[in-house]
């Protein structure tokens, strides 16, 4: 982090509008963010040139710095898509969800989060989560209601559901990484390549190190004989393909062997 030597940027209505809409959406994929940026220019400053997204966001972040909030860029764990969210750096709890959920709902999320972090695969089954419904703080919740709340988490992009199992959405990882690392320091898993929090990924059968799927894709790109970067044993898993935003837009399918330009925050 650059800190106080960073020159403070200038906020115009274009930036404010962008910030408002990003806050409303919670999390957005990069192509949506670019579209949002263009929309803000169109509404508030039609004739100006649209600034490069990275500079635009850095400008806003320099103003947000004194409030300990930041527009953070991350990457989805399953397919390496870049995503953006407005993150409160000072909040070390899940209270950022508090504006949408009641006390017992937040506790349900906390329970699901713990199961996800403790799991080997990064997924917690619906059954296991629902079995904890009796232990929730606040108003009593029935399992049927809890099912509905879990769907609310999915809709609000805090959780992802796959075949009856739940894992963290990229948004939750972006917003809560710090909280998770501080609260569960022993259970937390970390990627061997980017050193960020890891929920879903691949692991070495021999030495146990883990890597995110997009990190695996990038590291083993066009390598026909992948070996573990730590113990050099043969890497036993299928190497996923790197996310390419260009091809994605044209073909509507994710293909590649071009380098992906995503970056990851520590």
């Amino acid at each position: 982090m650059q800190g106080s030597t960073r020159r403070m940027g200038v906020m115009t209505d274009v930036h404010r509008r962008f910030l408002q809409l990003l806050m409303t959406h919670g999390v957005l994929e990069e192509w949506d963010v670019k579209r949002l940026q263009k929309h803000c220019y169109k509404v508030h400053d039609r004739n100006a040139t649209v600034e490069k997204l990275e500079d635009f966001i850095n400008n806003i972040n320099s103003v947000l710095e004194s409030l300990y909030i930041e527009i953070k860029k991350g990457v989805t764990e399953d397919d390496g898509r870049p995503i953006y969210a407005l993150v409160n750096l000072a909040t070390t709890s899940i209270s950022k969800m508090a504006s949408d959920f009641a006390e017992n709902e937040l506790d349900l999320f906390r329970k699901a989060l713990e199961l996800i972090i403790d799991s080997e695969t990064g997924f917690a089954s619906s059954t296991n989560i629902l079995n904890l419904v009796d232990q929730l703080k606040g108003k009593k919740m029935r399992k049927k209601e809890a099912e509905h709340v879990l769907q609310k988490f999915v809709q609000n992009k805090w959780l992802i559901e796959k075949e009856g199992e739940f894992t963290l959405h990229g948004r939750a990882i972006l917003e809560m990484e710090q909280y998770i690392r501080e609260t569960y320091p022993d259970a937390v898993k970390v990627c061997n390549i980017c050193h960020s929090l890891l929920i879903q990924g691949q692991s070495c059968d021999t030495c146990g190190i883990r890597m995110h799927l997009p990190c695996v894709a990038k590291y083993f790109q066009s390598n026909s004989e992948p070996h573990c970067p730590h113990c050099n044993d043969y890497w036993p898993h299928e190497i996923p393909e790197v996310f390419d935003p260009e091809k994605e837009r044209d073909a509507g399918i994710s293909k590649s062997s071009k380098k992906s330009s995503r970056s990851r925050q520590h």
Partner: protein, 280 residues
Amino acid sequence: MPRGRKSKLRARENRRQAQEEDLVLQRATAVSHTEPTNRDPLDEMVVLSVYYLLYKYQIKEPITKADMLRNVIQVYRNRFHEILKRASAHMEMVFGLDLKEVDPYRHIYVLINKLEISYDAILDDVREVPKTGLVMAVLGVIFMNGNCATEEQVWQMLNLMGLYAGRKHFIFGEPRKLITKDLVEANYLEYRQVPNSDPPCYEFLWGPRAHAETSKIKVLEFMAKIHDTVPTAFPSLYEEAVKDEVERARARAAAKAHTAAMASARSRARATSPSRPNKV
């Protein structure tokens, strides 16, 4: 809106109060961890106040001085106006949200969006233009059915427009995906299972973006036009829409009134009492 409104609101309010205190306590500890301790504690108060104001804005509740003192400012209560002034300067400069005092006697404030979004915002987005009519129509069905419409009711309307589930439309694409997925992800609609329904059936509500980008009166005007009539042809809906608009206009009028409303002089003149009963 759910039934048993008054008692549910009160219970919800009590829970919120407790939650708010929890929230702010956690953030207070958090902020103090992020920086060296020779920082001005008032700066910290300002930052926490900004978070609190944003939270209240997102849950669409007005801000009272009493709540702010209790949940955020606490020991620094004698610096309340200074803290609030600095916090509201941040809100305006960074987020384009204006803090206005709507009740100078009970010290109630609201945040007004200076970058007020209008119906045109939906049209401006070129990609969304073909869908605008559809979005408004779905919002209309929802509003006309008491702010919550079953999937069946929505399909009845879409079928009238020539849209059928599973049948791809040359402009809208496949309508089922559009309303249950795309528009939900874009935050225009909320799609949820009817509680305790078995076999499960689903209902639609307005999403947060719909609330932000349009209003009941605008949607009613749109629906009236479709039915080749005027909004007043739906008296109870018209009444509800007008009430909603009055609340918005009141907030806007307060904004126009005066910015100096936060000056301490007037606030000391009258006896104040908190606007809400003490929570549990």
